[in-house]
């Protein structure tokens, strides 16, 4: 008896709110809950009162009422106005959640049946565990190796599907140290339920201590460099003098002129595609079919590492031969419709004005 009472007392009824977004969503949640409660109560009350007052014994003869356009318009428009508030409020929160701050710390997540693989820029790697510092915006870049997963941290009120074939992202700022659940919320097969993990929010000191323990195997970029060399990318892409392939030094986030006239930004999505399916976009002045297709040869994690390595490559020489080959870069929309998640800042269509830094 006593134990069952204790059990009842232990029922959690409301999740912890451990991120900045959690409190803003909770605000809307409570607004909606109050509106719902009041409306439900009103309707229940009306039903009970009418049912009692106009029960057949008390009121044997119904008074026929045709309707009332005024009333009906009222209870069409009134609720709609309240709903408009919810709409605008919800949209505001949602839009804010699409814009990671510039200084957000990047963490890479790969969903795979049935685990979350986490990689940090400093080379730390974990499975089903995510360590983040309190008070610092964290941006997750997420990819899937197989089916659709969905990355969700209820305590942060964040969630985004991880769809195979492109990068998805979300961001948050943890506000309360603690250990929170991390779930996959898109059914992904047999062990879907075991795609659970933990998010550890550490205060700055703890985080620094934890971090110093990690990264023994070198940074993410260093892991990428190992991949880069193992897969034989370095033979062409770093020292090529025969014009077989573009130089990757200083490429990241630069506009790239393609052979069909389009200009794209060399962002994560572009780099990923160029590794997985190099023939999809050919840089102006180069031939297709020279680079091997790495689809199936490299995991999504490996791709993330290689991209980190490419990011780390700084321009070696101020003006390589590529520089003179490239036509002037123009402001042009990315005229392809390739799948680039809209929530991914680097997927911007806006090309910068022409100031090639090579």
């Amino acid at each position: 008896m006593l134990s069952s009472l204790r059990l009842l007392a232990d029922i959690p009824l409301f999740p912890p709110a451990a991120s900045a977004q959690a409190s803003s969503i909770d605000g809307l949640y409570w607004f909606e809950t109050w509106v719902s409660a009041i409306m439900t109560l009103l309707i229940f009350l009306a039903i009970v009162i009418f049912a009692f007052k106009y029960r057949r014994e008390a009121h044997p003869r119904a008074t026929q009422i045709e309707g009332s356009t005024k009333l009906e318009l009222g209870w069409s428009i009134g609720p709609f106005l309240v709903m408009l508030i919810m709409f605008v409020w919800g949209a505001k929160i949602f839009f804010a959640a699409q814009q990671p701050p510039k200084d957000a710390m990047e963490v890479f997540v790969t969903g795979k049946q049935w685990m979350w693989k986490i990689q940090y820029p400093d080379g730390g790697r974990e499975i089903d565990e995510l360590h983040v510092p309190v008070g610092r915006p964290v941006k997750l870049t997420m990819a899937s190796e197989d089916v659709i997963h969905s990355f969700s941290i209820p305590a942060f009120r964040v969630r985004h599907d991880v769809v195979p074939g492109h990068y998805d992202s979300l961001w948050f700022t943890a506000t309360k140290p603690g250990r929170y659940h991390l779930f996959c919320t898109e059914y992904c097969g047999n062990q879907h339920a075991s795609m659970m993990g933990w998010v550890d929010v550490l205060d700055q000191k703890e985080y620094a201590a934890w971090r110093s323990g990690a990264g023994a195997q070198g940074t993410l970029a260093e892991a990428g460099q190992r991949q880069f060399e193992q897969l034989g990318c370095s033979t062409c892409h770093l020292m090529d003098q025969q014009g077989r392939c573009p130089n990757l030094r200083g490429l990241y986030m630069k506009p790239v002129q393609l052979d069909d006239g389009r200009v794209v930004i060399a962002d994560d999505a572009y780099l990923r595609e160029s590794i997985i399916d190099p023939n999809a976009k050919i840089v102006f002045g180069y031939q297709p079919n020279i680079m091997p297709v790495f689809k199936g040869q490299i995991s999504e994690e490996g791709v993330i590492q290689v991209i980190a390595y490419i990011k780390s490559l700084t321009p070696s020489t101020p003006a390589s031969q590529q520089g003179s080959q490239q036509p002037p870069i123009v402001i042009a929309p990315q005229a392809n419709g390739t799948m680039v998640p809209e929530s991914f800042p680097s997927a911007s269509k806006a090309a910068r004005s022409s100031q090639p830094q090579q």
């Binding site: 510039k102 929309p333 419709g337 680039v340 809209e342 911007s348 806006a350 090309a351 910068r352």
Partner: protein, 111 residues
């Protein structure tokens, strides 16, 4: 029963001739390079041909307003499906915020 409208053979043959001509036309136009014009012209011709078939062969011209309404409803729903789906794909890459690394203004618009 309501009166039956019997189309004259002349009309039917004329429509047939028009359809054949349009088929030739649309094939010919496809060899010109008009950029986005190609698909527009191809679809315009296809819509014209389909309307001819519907209007005369299928007798939409002679049916009641109700049936016409149904036909239109079918097309409207098709449009809803294609346009709303396209609304997702064509706005996914819209840059709704200034790119974080530059002050260039957003470039929007579908293609």
């Amino acid at each position: 029963m309501t009166h039956v409208h019997i189309p004259p053979v002349r009309t039917l043959v004329f429509v047939w001739l028009a359809l054949i001509c349009f088929t030739g036309l649309t094939s010919a136009v496809s060899y010109l390079e008009l950029g986005w014009g190609n698909i527009v012209v191809a679809l315009l011709i296809a819509v014209t041909k389909a309307s001819l078939v519907a209007w005369i062969f299928m007798g939409v011209r002679y049916v009641t307003t109700l049936t016409k309404l149904f036909v239109v409803a079918g097309l409207v729903w098709l449009a809803i499906m294609i346009l709303l789906t396209a609304s997702d794909y064509n706005t996914r890459n819209w840059d709704y915020r200034p790119a974080p690394w530059s002050s260039a203004k957003s470039v929007g618009g579908s293609h």
